[in-house]
């Protein structure tokens, strides 16, 4: 059956009703396009969503689906995953849903390593309730609920997930179909909980929030694409890179080409160079499978806001025991029930 599946097999008959230009359309199309690759029949795939614009996602997938309540999708999914290990379970949530009202469920699903894929649509705003600040809105942002600017510090979802001991953490962008699909593929392959943050543009209430990473002219300068086993380099000319600097903090530096004589020295000497130019072999090599999450955390913190150079891709992908049901999959037999009812001290009357 899987050989014959196509994108259309995952499109429900419901009319999609997001605002024109919403990033959600792009993610929906990418997910529907990607689903046949899983080789899993639609009836064994379940999408569970919370409340918010992203919550409607479930209605548009021709799979089993549940549009739950605000913030609780990870809890509903945990119950389903506990009950059924034969399903591919996906959670779709937003920054308000996952990080504000549902923060507790998110971190516990991640720490338990429940086998669900959590797609977190981050648009840094409350869309469905028409434009209030969200827990990822940047400081100082003017919104309907913060006319004098946001005064509370935003969450960095990647850093939060890493702190919650997530075994798979990635970030991608709604408009980059190729990169998004690559990340979905890796998330689907991962055993255990996978958290995928998707920068998603809200054209109505927060248009251009991720312009630095999506606009022509800016994106090449700012997207730091993390690739396993490769030095972390970026820039329009690939001229910049990331090193571990003094005190263990990550720093963005200029990378000199090997023939750029005198500009850089290699190795330790290069790192100690007075200027900010190093050779490529001084750069940090990305390794998402590293057991210690420290470096992934530093990468997440490299960009406090996605307004400049920002890492995207897979921050962490490690194997850890997966949360499974504690009980047998079949109920007791009648004989077992009879034994259980009559257990302990019993006596006969009459």
């Amino acid at each position: 059956m899987s050989a014959t599946l196509a994108k259309g097999d995952f499109q429900s008959d419901q009319e999609t009703r997001w605002c024109p230009g919403c990033g959600d359309y792009a993610v929906l199309a990418a997910v529907q396009q990607f689903m046949p690759e899983l080789g899993i029949p639609p009836e064994r795939i379940v999408f569970i969503t919370g409340i918010g614009c992203a919550g409607r996602f479930a209605y548009y997938m021709d799979t089993y689906g549940m549009h739950g309540i605000h913030g609780r999708a990870p809890a509903l999914a945990t119950g389903l995953a506990t009950a059924r290990d034969d399903l591919s379970i996906w959670v779709v949530t937003g920054d308000g849903d996952a990080l504000s009202i549902g923060g507790n469920h998110l971190i516990h699903a991640l720490r338990r390593n429940v086998p669900v894929r959590i797609l977190l649509f981050n648009n840094q705003i409350y869309g469905l309730t028409k434009g209030q600040a969200s827990p990822t809105s940047e400081l100082g942002k003017i919104t309907k609920s913060t006319p004098f600017g946001v005064s509370d510090h935003p969450f960095n979802p990647i850093a939060l997930a890493l702190g919650a001991e997530a075994s798979f953490v990635a970030r991608t962008i709604d408009r980059d179909r190729h990169h998004l699909t690559e990340v979905l593929r890796a998330a689907a392959r991962h055993e255990g909980a996978a958290l995928v943050e998707i920068y998603q543009n809200c054209p109505v209430f927060n248009d251009g929030a991720f312009g630095a990473l999506t606009d022509k002219g800016a994106r090449d300068a700012n997207q730091i694409r993390l690739r396993a086993g490769e030095p972390i380099r970026f820039g329009a000319e690939n001229e910049r890179g990331v090193i571990r600097g003094d005190g263990g903090c990550l720093e963005i530096v200029e990378v000199a080409e090997p023939d750029d004589a005198g500009a850089a020295r290699s190795g330790e000497a290069g790192r100690r160079a007075a200027g900010r130019t190093v050779s490529e072999d001084a750069l940090l090599v990305h390794d998402p499978a590293r057991a210690d999450p420290g470096l992934a955390f530093s990468l997440a913190k490299l960009a406090e806001t996605p307004t400049g150079p920002t890492p995207i891709g897979i921050f962490r992908d490690v194997a850890r025991p997966v949360y499974r049901q504690t009980g047998a999959t079949e109920p007791a037999s009648e004989a077992q029930l009879i034994e259980l009812l009559g257990a302990g001290a019993t006596w006969e009357v009459g």
């Binding site: 504690t326 047998a328 029930l337 006596w347």
Partner: protein, 646 residues
């Protein structure tokens, strides 16, 4: 020394001591020995909320009460005939509940100056004459226990000190002629890994028994004959927690659905999590969730996956689950919510009983969100109520609230072990793929699949993920009738609201009629009905029995299905001139009955963290029967003050 033996029809004993004195253990050992004798019995533990309250203080007193009798009994009893007090605090905390003439057995060694101070006694009650209305036996239990165990190798002073509860058990076991082998076998099993401690406890128990036999302090041994008026069969002793757990497991077996319990630790509902988590080998999955909300969500998620989803909580946990219960109403999926009620509001008194969540269970969600509510009436009935809750949830695709309480959860009684073959099969009737053999009425005929079509009971199909051809989406948004698609259509919303209500109302067709225990002598027409609900059944029946013995004419009935109510409820209410509703809240059932049936209910309420007592019921009956002219003269609450009108 040969001692006199006196017969007693029933006896109430309360074992009380410091939390560390092992009174719960003493009480449950005595209970097992009593069950073997064949007495009818009922027990009730009462322990402090603090895990380790300062030793010797009133806050640290832990107690266990048992009533046993040669006839069927209905409650753990109101006022103890015998109080075993292991220290001054235990005496002080329980003395007020003793009637004159009651027996007090104290551990004399514990009545030190320091312990008396900790309990707040200015003078030693054993010598100041304040106990002269009671029969007091002073036994140096600590000293005698130490003497009994001092020869045993490998026993520390601490072990010796801790064995004094078994000395007490030995004394009381002798006093009431309990068999010793049951307790001895238990001690051997319990301490099998530490033979020295086992030996010490056996020695303490034997010393207590021998003391009873030889001391001149106790000149009479009592005998309570086996009860003969209980139905024949095989029995075991269960508390409400165990019975409820077994009921859920039985429903899992008879429905073929593995059980998934998701719960968050909360007193007293945690006991259900502990109990059910033992049964992983027989299809019971338990999840300790991150919070009450998640627990409800996980249970509902499991139900969506075709399992028997259960969540259990108490007190404030119910507040937090309301949102998810509302979702379950909308999704029309089976979900069992166990509410072990405790004294509120807020944190209230977590270890004390109350029946104050009735209105919340019935109405505590936003929007029109009716659901069935079942309240077990005895510890043993928790089995049947849990089974019924599961059956109704599965058959009607609805959340069901099971209203237990702290009293039911912890009190125990002999339970006639049910015959598994007598338990009805529960058919989950999953919707099956089109074209395959189907017994689901709705799914087979419709193309495409209509997740919100309805069968003759108005239940919708339960199509679980993995079923080919039935992939569908459900959610909290209002559904279009039939298709289940999102609908904001006003007429559809009205229709769906009415359908959901009608479905729950239809459960009433299966609710047995309210049966009235009417005055046995038909020549004496009765005009007073005492109507209770849930866990007060024992106290009400016992209270009515007392009133009848005193010559009063009175009927009683107990509601177990609170929604829907039995179809004949209104007729029953209207067939009596007066209806008295005792309940452990401020009149919640009374207000429902008044609103529903326009009957002038007389309410008797109590919120003291204690169960209802038979004597209180009898007093209320008596007050009404001797002063029948003006209902307003009857005190509406225990302290005699009339409450402001609701």
């Amino acid at each position: 020394m040969r001692k006199a033996v006196e017969e007693r029809e029933r006896v109430i004993i309360r074992f009380a001591g410091d939390s560390g004195d092992g009174m719960q253990l003493t009480g449950s050992r005595f209970t097992d020995a009593t069950a073997v004798v064949g007495n009818d019995l009922a027990t009730l533990p009462n322990f402090p909320a603090e895990i380790r309250a300062p030793a010797g203080t009133l806050a640290g007193v832990s107690a266990f009460q048992i009533q046993f009798a040669s006839r069927d009994i209905l409650t753990p009893g109101d006022h103890p005939d015998v109080l075993v007090a292991m220290n001054p605090a235990a005496l002080k905390a329980n003395r007020a509940e003793l009637h004159p003439g009651a027996t007090i057995i104290v551990n004399e060694d514990a009545f030190t100056k320091r312990n008396l101070e900790k309990a707040g006694y200015a003078a030693d009650p054993l010598s100041d004459g304040s106990l002269e209305r009671f029969r007091v036996h002073r036994i140096p239990m600590s000293t005698m226990t130490s003497a009994a165990v001092e020869e045993i190798d490998g026993v520390s002073t601490r072990d010796a000190g801790r064995a004094k509860n078994l000395f007490a058990l030995g004394v009381i076991s002798w006093l009431y002629g309990r068999p010793t082998d049951v307790s001895k076998r238990w001690i051997e099993r319990r301490f099998a890994r530490d033979p020295a401690v086992a030996q010490a406890n056996l020695a303490a128990f034997n010393a207590g028994w021998s003391f009873g036999e030889t001391t001149e302090l106790l000149d009479v041994q009592y005998r309570v004959k086996p009860a003969t008026d209980v139905p024949p069969g095989r029995y075991r002793n269960v508390n409400g927690t165990t019975a409820l757990s077994l009921g859920l497991i039985a429903a899992s077996v008879r429905s073929g659905l593995p059980l998934v319990l998701a719960s968050y630790p909360i007193t007293p509902a945690s006991e259900l999590l502990h109990e059910l988590s033992k049964h992983a080998a027989i299809g019971v999955s338990t999840i300790q969730a991150e919070d009450e909300i998640a627990a409800a969500g996980m249970a509902l998620g499991a139900s969506f996956g075709g399992k028997l989803g259960v969540t259990a909580t108490s007190g404030p946990g119910m507040d937090l689950k309301a949102e998810t219960i509302g979702l379950a109403v909308m999704l029309e999926l089976p979900l069992i919510v166990v509410d072990v009620q405790r004294a509120g509001p807020s944190t209230g008194m977590p270890t004390k009983t109350e029946q104050s969540d009735l209105l919340m269970a019935l109405h505590g969600r936003h929007g029109e969100s009716p659901l069935p509510v079942i309240a077990p009436t005895t510890a043993g009935d928790c089995f049947d109520a849990a089974f019924e809750a599961a059956r109704v949830a599965i058959r009607y695709r609805t959340p069901v609230i099971l209203l237990s309480d702290t009293f039911l959860a912890s009190s125990s009684e002999p339970w006639l072990i049910p015959d598994v073959a007598d338990l009805p099969a529960i058919d989950p009737a999953f919707a099956v793929a089109p074209g395959t053999d189907s017994h689901s009425s709705a799914a087979e005929t419709s193309d495409p699949f209509q997740p919100y079509s309805r069968d003759e009971k108005l239940a919708r199909p339960w199509a679980v993920p993995g079923t080919p051809g039935l992939a569908h989406r459900i959610g909290g948004l209002e559904k279009a009738h039939g298709t289940g698609n999102i609908s904001y259509d006003g007429a559809n919303h009205q229709r769906m609201t009415e359908l959901r209500a009608a479905k729950v109302a239809a459960v009433g067709d299966e609710v047995p009629p309210l049966t009235v225990d009417i005055e046995p002598d038909p020549a004496r027409p009765t005009d007073l009905l005492v109507l209770g609900w849930g866990s007060t059944e024992g106290a009400i029946r016992a209270g009515v029995r007392l009133a009848r013995e005193a010559g009063h004419k009175v009927a009683c009935a107990q509601l177990r299905n609170l929604n829907p109510l039995p179809a004949n409820t209104g007729d029953v209410l209207r067939s009596f001139e007066r209806v008295l509703v005792p309940e452990l809240n401020c009149g919640q059932l009374a207000s429902i009955l008044r609103a529903r049936y326009l009957v002038d209910i007389e309410s008797f309420t109590k919120v003291q963290g204690q169960p209802l007592f038979a004597v209180e019921v009898a007093e209320q009956i008596e007050a009404r029967q001797s002063r029948r002219t003006d209902a307003a003269d009857v005190p509406a609450s225990l302290d005699g003050e009339r409450r402001p009108p609701a």
